[in-house]
């Protein structure tokens, strides 16, 4: 019995001692050598000749580029291939999403044309068509350099080191970046660079989106030549300046690093940079042009002037919603590395906010006027998409739904305010969709950003995630408000002055006769629908 107890005691002690003994250190990682790589077998030629229906032997070690054929495959070759694969994924992602954004021009074109009268169809389509080329020319000449010439590189796109010269002034003891200086003609300052080309394409289509917003608010009465001049200046100066401040290492982006305001001004995909800039410029243009003839009675009551094709309006809204999947998720400028796998979350936020925006507007109109207005439902969808553009990378799905829902109601209220109180004639609701909801999108970042995003551990050079007021960071909200003040106070004023100068030099408004006749023949020389007899419907009828 004693022996048994002794044995059990010894066994337990030994077990206890074993449990307390420090665990053996894990084996040190064995570095991979060039010799290891040589032992990786590539599929044989015979196997390849049989074809590869299962995809198992396509894309193997045999496909890695070798720097020195005498040495064969080395570790350096493998690592270079890994790096190039990451950048290639990001290039392809950014380019393809940029192509989607480019197609949004078609969406804008048919939405605006459908909301205008048939007698101006050619003129409205042509403005939307040529704004693409006019804006691109201005942006290639100088706009891109102003916007991105001092951004200081981008890790997702392989560095782009040549974009490194920002013009700054010292204010309150801190550097205030005002505009970039590299990238004129995409050659100056070493910008003939593969990464710079990808960046240019993506930023160019964003800029063109902003420009095309203005053609909506000024439609049906804008001289074509004035449109060309105004679009050129906006693509060359107005848009790039604000975009530099927000995205190009300018002073708004550095409000966090310089003044402790959150992560600086945060606008993920451009509610402010693209839509509010476009919407506020649209407001400046519409104010200077004045309302269309017949829009207001002598005592200032607004008449509804309905568009000619609701079918293409809603088709255009779908095209825009599709393009928005390039706009927001593409703004990561990559799909690999630096937290870019959040692209799924961004895409879902985008579709949810568009949906709640459409619902918000539809139910508002239904309750207020008794019918679910089609054009305002479309504008509600767009308003939700505009509003989620800035916060899409920083909020969760509940936040996205709330932001979109508010945007849908807000666009209806804003249309009524601009139409009835300000008496500014905006034929397509561009000021409300893009201006008002662009500003709401900027503000909503400061409210709803949930602090969960992590794009490489920092944003605008400040460590941590973007966090809004509802999640504990009031300073982020202040940074967003400064962005709003800059949009309303500076961008609007700048646009207004440019439009004013064009009014003096060129003149914005077509003659009353041309306006009544329709702009297709007097301005463009060709009817939009030459085989149809157009009958004028009394203004206000059928609304």
């Amino acid at each position: 019995m004693k022996k048994t107890i002794l044995l059990i005691t010894v066994a337990l002690s030994a077990r206890l001692a074993m449990a307390q003994a420090p665990a053996a250190p894990p084996a040190a990682p064995v570095p991979i050598t060039d010799a290891d790589l040589k032992s990786v077998a590539a599929p044989s030629n015979d196997d390849r000749l049989k074809g590869d229906p299962g995809g198992a032997i396509t894309g193997t070690v045999a496909d890695i580029a070798v720097a020195d054929s005498k040495k064969g495959l080395t570790v350096a070759d493998a690592l270079n291939q890994v790096g190039q694969n990451k950048i290639a994924i990001n290039f392809v992602w950014t380019l393809v999403t940029g192509f989607l954004v480019m197609f949004m021009q078609a969406g804008f074109a048919v939405v605006e044309t459908g909301l205008c009268r048939a007698k101006n169809a050619n003129h409205t389509m042509m403005m939307n068509f040529m704004v693409y080329g006019v804006g691109m020319l201005a942006y290639w000449l100088i706009g891109f350099a102003i916007q991105m010439g001092g951004v200081g590189g981008n890790g997702n796109l392989g560095g782009i080191q040549p974009l490194n010269t920002e013009w700054t002034i010292n204010l309150f003891g801190k550097p205030f970046g005002l505009f970039g200086q590299h990238g004129l003609f995409l050659t100056q300052g070493g910008t003939y660079d593969v990464g710079a080309m990808v960046m240019f394409l993506f930023q160019m289509v964003f800029m063109d989106t902003a420009l095309t917003i203005v053609t909506g608010s000024c439609a049906e009465r804008w001289k074509y030549v004035a449109f060309v001049v105004a679009s050129f200046f906006m693509g060359a100066f107005t848009y790039p300046l604000y975009a530099n401040w927000a995205w190009g290492n300018g002073w708004l982006a550095n409000l966090g690093a310089n003044f402790g305001l959150g992560k600086g001004y945060c606008d993920f995909a451009g509610s402010g940079v693209v839509h509010a800039v476009g919407g506020l410029t649209a407001l400046a243009g519409a104010m200077i042009l004045g309302p269309r003839l017949g829009k207001y009675t002598r005592d200032g009551k607004p008449n509804a002037i309905i568009g000619h094709d609701i079918v293409i309006v809603l088709t255009g809204c779908f095209i825009l919603a599709f393009g928005w999947f390039g706009f927001n998720p593409g703004s990561t400028l990559g799909a690999s590395g630096n937290g870019n796998l959040r692209i799924g979350s961004i895409a879902v936020n985008t579709m949810l906010a568009g949906m709640t925006g459409g619902f918000g507007a539809m139910f508002y109109m239904w309750m207020r006027y008794g019918k679910p207005d089609a054009s305002m439902s479309g504008n509600g969808l767009l308003a939700g998409l505009v509003a989620i553009t800035a916060p899409s990378g920083f909020v969760n799905t509940v936040g996205a739904c709330i932001i979109g829902l508010i945007a849908g109601v807000l666009v209806c209220l804003s249309v009524e305010f601009i139409d009835r109180v300000m008496k500014v004639d905006d034929p397509v609701g561009a000021i409300s969709v893009h201006g008002t909801n662009g500003l709401w999108g900027v503000i909503s970042v400061g409210l709803f950003a949930d602090g969960k995003s992590n794009y490489g551990g920092s944003w605008n050079g400040v460590n941590g995630s973007v966090t809004g007021l509802f999640y504990g960071d009031a300073s982020q909200f202040v940074a967003q408000l400064i962005g709003v003040a800059t949009l309303i106070g500076f961008v609007f004023t700048f646009s207004f002055v440019i439009f004013w100068l064009i009014e003096i030099v060129v003149g914005h408004r077509v003659s009353a006769r041309a306006e009544l006749e329709g702009l297709d023949l007097p301005e463009m020389g060709q009817l939009g629908y030459p085989e149809f007899e157009l009958k004028a419907r009394p203004v206000g009828a059928g609304a």
Partner: protein, 60 residues
């Protein structure tokens, strides 16, 4: 009148930017920026737009 509207709108922007230098308190900065935004809106809606409405084509 329109020129005054432009100046007031620009003034609102300047007030908002000055907020970062006026105080280091977040609440203080928020108040100053909101004042700046209000000035901007007064400039656009209250002054500039009113100037254009005086000569609007529908009055003629």
């Amino acid at each position: 009148m329109a020129f005054a509207g432009v100046l007031i709108t620009l003034l609102g922007f300047i007030v908002a930017v000055l907020s970062v230098a006026m105080t280091s308190s977040i609440a203080g900065r928020m108040v100053v920026v909101l004042i700046g935004i209000a000035i901007c809106l007064i400039g656009i809606i209250g002054v500039l737009n009113r100037a254009f409405l005086k000569n609007a084509n529908w009055r003629r």
